[in-house]
């Protein structure tokens, strides 16, 4: 009998469970290496060459090179590990999070300043009709 994973039907959300952690192990360990200033320098000098030192698959490497955080998460990356990449880029959690939502950074900030993303209509996959998650009334009116 399989394990119950009720979180699979929460839209726009990847829960970093044992399965994802196994998939993303090397991607996440690469991220950890960026906690040392000397490694950040090496990475910035030649990103591809630095990535090639890690046993990551091409999909993971492309995710990193294009800074596509949704792609990295789908490939097993975890946001707290991935934060070492955007921190090295001088980006905040807010900027990185907005990049995953398909919203512009100012729209995302406006959404947060007006109470954040609403939960209504964003609980179940079946509630998402046009592939887009709801933001909140203040942002949608704009």
């Amino acid at each position: 009998m399989a394990l119950e994973k009720p979180y699979k039907d929460v839209p726009g959300t990847t829960v970093f469970d044992a399965e994802m952690a196994r998939k993303g192990y090397h991607l996440n360990q690469f991220c950890m290496s960026l906690m040392k200033a000397e490694n950040r320098e090496k990475f910035k000098a030649d990103q591809r060459a630095y990535l090639d030192q890690w046993p990551m698959n091409e999909e993971q490497k492309q995710g990193v090179l294009t800074r596509d955080y949704n792609r990295m998460i789908a490939a097993g990356g975890n946001i707290y590990f991935l934060s070492k990449i955007f921190s090295s880029d001088g980006q905040s959690f807010e900027q990185a999070a907005s990049s995953m939502t398909g919203m512009s950074a100012p729209d995302y900030r406006q959404m947060m300043l007006t109470g954040g993303r609403q939960v209504e209509g964003n609980r179940y996959l079946s509630e998402i009709k046009d592939g887009k998650l709801k933001t909140n009334a203040n942002v949608e009116k704009k």
Binding site: N70, Y80, A97, T101, V119
Partner: protein, 280 residues
């Protein structure tokens, strides 16, 4: 006898640490948040805790994917701030309390809570941001601190019920320590937030306020919240609230609320804050 006399609950958003470190606390964006901690800073000056047991989570800092302890306790003399990718925060080292930490470990392991003992560890914003919020920017933290990391990064974190019962075991361990100490326990992280995927930015004020209500009116009921409810209702990262339940469990049933605060947003997160004092 050592005794846990009060509990502090608060979020540990990294951007709050950055706002303090970069002198932005007077910015209009941040003013309402720091206002919510003015009472708390005065309160803790009068309380003068000797030790804080600080329940927090490490964010892929000291623990990467090689070792993931569900519950751990810092037993070292000193814990320096970690470099999380932008250089270490310029905050004082945490001075531990090895004798009390080892005593707690020995007591709660025999109560069937199998802690991982950590003798060498750097600490990240999960631990340092609550200290900055409560103490500001001192040269040295004014008391000893026992770091108590809980895994909430790789799913599943421990259940709320397990956390609550661990809190009870910590309380009884502290009371067996043969020294007069004014001990606080802090539960950090939360409240509603999601910082990943298309659903990032999710906030649920009603969920948070109900949670804060029930901490006082019916604490045990919170132990029954299943993980999926945190994820679906309050965002994937709201599951950090199980750490609040460790501190709540340590408070037992005889306590009163002395402060409560909720604010949206700090970066991607709803900030919740509460102070409870024992009445017996």
């Amino acid at each position: 006898m050592a005794k846990i006399n009060s509990a502090v609950f608060c979020s540990h958003v990294p951007a709050i640490g950055a706002a303090i470190d970069l002198g932005k606390t007077e910015d209009p964006y941040w003013v309402p948040l720091f206002k919510g901690f003015e009472f708390s800073k005065q309160w803790i000056k009068q309380e003068k805790p000797d030790v804080i047991i600080l329940v927090y989570n490490d964010h892929a800092t000291a623990f990467d994917s090689t070792i993931i302890p569900t519950f751990a306790i810092g037993c070292a003399d000193r814990f320096p701030p970690a470099d999380e990718g932008w250089g270490p925060r310029k905050v004082p080292d945490v001075i531990g309390y090895p004798e009390l930490a080892a005593h707690i470990a020995q007591s709660v392991i025999l109560d069937e809570f199998d802690l991982t003992i950590i003798n060498d560890m750097k600490v990240d914003h999960g631990l340092s941001v609550p200290l900055s919020l409560m103490f500001g920017q001192p040269e040295a933290w004014p008391c000893r601190i026992i770091p108590f990391p809980v895994n909430v990064v790789q799913y599943p974190p421990p259940t709320g019920n397990r956390c609550y019962n661990l809190g009870k075991a910590i309380r009884s361990a502290v009371e067996k320590f043969d020294e007069d100490l004014n001990v606080q326990i802090w539960g950090t992280g939360g409240m509603s937030h999601q910082i990943q995927g298309q659903r990032a930015g999710l906030i649920n004020k009603e969920f948070d306020n109900r949670f804060l209500d029930r901490m006082v009116s019916d604490p045990v009921s919170l132990t029954k919240i299943p993980h999926i409810e945190y994820v679906r209702e309050a965002g994937a990262e709201a599951i950090e609230l199980v750490m609040w339940l460790v501190a709540l469990g340590a408070m037992g049933t005889d306590f009163k609320q002395v402060h409560r605060f909720h604010h949206v947003p700090a970066s991607n997160t709803a900030v919740g804050h509460m102070i409870l004092e024992k009445t017996k």
